[in-house]
């Protein structure tokens, strides 16, 4: 478990150093006033894509020697509706779930309320799931 803690710490540090946790940067992105976040997401995707390709091509295994398996995501209408709802929340809070955690850890204690609301939102989704279009 320690390795995942360390990976999380590294990721949290990057989120802060990239200013990805900044409400201002998110507002700039959604107003097309800065390339910064587009550059980050774009280069992250390209790096990840190359890495996944290399893993598949060379049959790279986990540190325990297991074959690496990436489950396929199936399309459903929630990708659209949920995606739009999350987008609204993203621009409002200026943070997606990862940055919210880093903000709370970084001293903005009130963001704990935002995180608890996010847990509540997740719970309400679980409760209403059967009645929502998928």
């Amino acid at each position: 478990m320690l390795k995942y803690l360390l990976a999380g710490i590294a990721f949290g540090i990057i989120l802060v150093k990239a200013e990805l946790i900044s409400w201002f940067r998110i507002q700039e992105m959604f107003r097309l006033q800065s390339f910064h976040l587009y550059g980050i997401i774009g280069s992250a995707v390209v790096t990840g894509m190359i890495a996944v390709m290399l893993i598949k091509k060379f049959g790279i295994k986990t540190i325990r020697g297991e074959a690496i398996h990436i489950p396929d995501k199936k399309f459903h209408k929630g990708n659209i509706y949920g995606g739009l709802i999350f987008g609204l929340g993203w621009a409002l809070t200026g943070a997606c779930p990862g940055p919210l955690l880093a903000q709370a850890g970084g001293g903005a204690t009130v963001i704990v309320i935002t995180l608890l609301s996010a847990v509540a939102g997740t719970w309400v989704y679980g409760k209403l799931r059967e009645r929502l279009p998928h």
Partner: protein, 190 residues
């Protein structure tokens, strides 16, 4: 050495931060076949604390403990970086945004998170409540409905060429543009 310390304290450019974030994908795969995704941790919290016999929350969340540990790590990483790895320079923001926000009484750029919007005092205002509690609710509800957030869909999903993730990512962006440009101006003027 001194240069390194200065560099560590400055904000990192996108071409450094982006690839590092992208490397989280193979890192988690190689460490233990884990797929990168942060919003899933919110579901595990529900499953662990308030499952209430809801089928969506009755599963062996203990098997996904790594995800909660990873989330805790992000919290700690945020603390370490904000405490030891930041200089005191103000955030530089596009002049048009500075101009726009000044109209709503937002002038303080000393922190990455505007204290004039996100603070315990602001939580008691209608604007603050909508932005923090309301925004958080939309993030939690939307990510789970969409089956992932920026990490699970936009980075992990796109990196492994999953087209549902492309659809989700386009909708994240669309929702963000609608909120920032069409709805947020009303909320900020409350």
């Amino acid at each position: 050495m001194e240069q390194l310390s200065i560099w560590l304290r400055q904000p990192w450019p996108w071409y450094v931060a982006g690839p590092l974030i992208g490397l989280t994908v193979p890192l988690l795969l190689v460490l233990g076949n884990k797929t990168f995704g942060i919003s899933a941790s919110l579901r595990h919290v529900c499953a662990a604390c308030i499952p209430a016999n809801i089928p969506f929350f009755t599963y062996e969340w203990e098997k996904e403990k790594w995800n909660l540990v990873f989330a805790l790590g992000i919290l700690l990483g945020g603390f370490l970086a904000m405490t030891f790895m930041r200089d005191s320079t103000a955030v530089t923001v596009h002049p048009r945004l500075v101009n726009e926000l000044a109209g709503y009484g937002i002038h303080d750029y000393s922190s990455l998170i505007p204290g004039e919007l996100f603070s315990w005092q602001q939580l008691l205002t209608v604007r603050g409540l909508i932005m923090m509690a309301g925004g958080g609710f939309l993030v939690g509800f939307g990510t789970r409905y969409a089956g992932g957030c920026t990490s699970g869909h936009s980075i992990m999903g796109l990196a492994s060429l999953q087209w549902p993730s492309l659809a989700a990512t386009c909708c994240f962006m669309a929702g963000g543009f609608i909120m920032a440009n069409l709805i947020l101006p009303f909320i900020l003027s409350l």
